[in-house]
């Protein structure tokens, strides 16, 4: 049977990806340019016994999503810059309470209200450093409508597998553009569910490390009782200030991601084998970069593209290797240098890193990147 195809908007694809992954709970507060994610789920979730709730604000929406997840449902919220700022305290709560949740954050111009309908890539640092304290961070940056579907599925998988919040961050262009999408059949993409406890309720501890760095998670209402808090906690979920326990727990939470970087980090290499100039880009900007690389090749310039698909954890190892192979790196991005600073850190001075920055609500066009390639080749 032919696969189902559709001409879909990025945000609609994110919502469909969430449904494919088994999302049964959405709480949110509408905000441009992410609203279509909520719109689709408000229509679809009730049909499959799921719940959609529009909360009074973004903070409450984040709290509701944590609650939905702890009650056993795969849970999603969708927002944009100003909403992400509001959610940050509770994102930290989800980190320390080790609650799987997915946040789709569509990047628009900022700070504050900024440019609600203008594209941006300036929330990538907020994805890691927005909430205070040491904590794991996973952030995916898709570049097409198909990929937004697939990466939303993967975001749920990573959230469930590592019991931690995962962010999907398309820029406004990727979220609002429409492309043909081929829907995967059920079972075609991997769908991961959280590990359920293997012990009876009276023996259950929500943070029992004898099961590894990611302890099984019981659903509230299923007969398993446990305590949830934002305080540093012991294996039974109750607060503690015991130095050795707090140290070990904090390290374990961060290790959930740090020890599994190869499982989480995804990237794409294009024309890099003999490249002398490498463009490192993500989201819609990577599409401008690909156009520019193709044009450069036509003109006999050995250019290539490293496309970041997982922004956090950052593809350190790969950028480090790349920087010792090429003469120069170019980092176009719709912000004032957030990815550039990471690439520069990983390059450790082995190759110069040239940023191209735009924050005027216009995309970085292929011509800008091509000019830079010619300048530094």
């Amino acid at each position: 049977m032919a696969k189902k195809v559709a001409f879909l908007q990025g945000n609609e694809a994110a919502a469909q990806g969430a449904l494919y992954a088994g999302c049964k709970f959405f709480a949110g507060y509408p905000i441009t340019p992410s609203t279509e994610v909520a719109e689709v789920l408000s229509a679809e979730l009730p049909k499959i016994g799921g719940k959609f709730i529009q909360m009074e604000d973004e903070i409450a929406a984040m709290a509701a999503v944590i609650g939905g997840s702890l009650a056993g449902s795969k849970a999603l919220t969708a927002t944009s810059g100003p909403g992400l700022s509001l959610k940050q305290e509770l994102i930290g709560y989800a980190c320390i309470a080790e609650t799987p949740v997915v946040i789709v954050n569509v990047m628009r111009g900022g700070p504050s209200t900024g440019m609600p309908t203008g594209p941006s890539q300036s929330d990538v640092m907020s994805a890691k450093w927005g909430t205070h304290g040491d904590h794991p961070a996973i952030c995916l940056v898709p570049a097409s409508v198909q990929e937004l579907f697939e990466e939303t599925v993967r975001a749920f998988n990573l959230a469930e597998k590592y019991r931690t919040p995962v962010m999907v961050m398309p820029d406004e262009i990727v979220a609002h553009m429409r492309e043909r999408i081929v829907f995967p059949e059920p079972g075609e993409l991997e769908v991961i569910d959280r590990t359920a406890p293997s012990v009876p309720p009276e023996q259950y501890k929500p943070y029992d490390t004898k099961f590894g760095d990611v302890p099984p998670l019981a659903a509230f209402g299923s007969g398993y009782r446990f305590h949830v808090t934002g305080l540093n906690k012991m294996d039974d979920g109750f607060p503690t200030t015991k130095a050795a326990v707090v140290q070990a727990e904090e390290e374990r939470q961060v290790r959930k991601v740090d020890a599994n970087i190869d499982d989480i980090v995804k990237f794409e290499e294009y024309m890099l084998d003999d490249a002398e100039v490498a463009v490192v880009a993500f989201g819609s900007t990577s599409r401008s970069a690909r156009f520019a690389v193709n044009e450069a090749r036509k003109q006999g310039i050995k250019a290539g593209l490293f496309r970041i698909k997982t922004f956090w954890p950052f593809p350190e190892k790969q950028i480090k290797a790349l920087s010792s192979k090429v003469k120069a790196l170019i980092t176009p991005e719709m912000n004032l240098g957030m990815c550039t600073v990471e690439v520069r850190r990983c390059a450790e001075g082995k190759a110069p890193v040239h940023g191209i920055f735009r924050v005027d609500g216009e995309p970085i066009n292929p011509g800008q990147i091509l000019d830079k390639i010619k300048e530094v080749k």
Partner: protein, 181 residues
């Protein structure tokens, strides 16, 4: 990039230009089996303000999703025409509403003009279908999607009660543009 064809629908917010672009791209990608990307840019206003919707059609993978040099431009308002005609390709096509765009940009391109909104209002009977009149005209002028695919795409997007209205709008737009060529 020779197979890359870029179309920009522009006018004021609320004129249905994004929908016109979506239908054009659906015709190309779902019914004609080509690659297509539709994107848009608009202000924070719900109505008014210059608005544009861009469609890229290609035989191969489309990387950059926005226009680089525009092959065909529709402008339904003077403001949109002034703002969005600067990157129209030499030898490209400019379709304008003859009542609303009185100052034509200078350049080496083919200008086709007829009263698009007036056609919708007085000949089809509803101003709201001006976007479909314009779409019919763009399909005739560019030939980048087949007439059959475009009609199918229009009809797949409209509620049953408005099928005839939209069919008529599309046909009138197509025929008027074909006659003006």
């Amino acid at each position: 990039m020779s197979q890359r064809y870029e179309i920009r629908f522009s006018g004021a917010g609320g004129q249905g230009l994004i929908l016109a672009g979506v239908i054009m791209a659906e015709a190309a990608s779902i019914y004609d089996g080509k690659q297509a990307v539709q994107s848009q840019s608009y202000g924070p206003e719900a109505r008014g303000g210059a608005s544009k919707s861009e469609v890229i059609v290609s035989d191969s993978m489309i990387d950059y999703p926005k226009a680089t040099v525009v092959d065909a431009l529709l402008a339904l308002t003077q403001e949109a025409c002034d703002k969005y005609s600067h990157d129209l390709k030499e030898g490209g096509i400019l379709l304008i509403d003859s009542d609303l765009v009185t100052k034509q940009p200078k350049g080496n391109f083919k200008v086709v003009s007829f009263p698009i909104i007036n056609t919708a209002k007085n000949e089809v009977g509803r101003e709201i279908v001006a976007n479909i009149v314009a779409l019919g005209a763009i399909v005739a002028l560019t030939g980048v999607v087949t007439r059959e695919s475009a009609e199918k795409a229009v009809l797949a997007r409209v509620p049953e009660a408005f099928v005839e209205l939209n069919k008529k709008a599309f046909q009138l737009g197509y025929e008027k543009a074909a006659a003006a060529m």
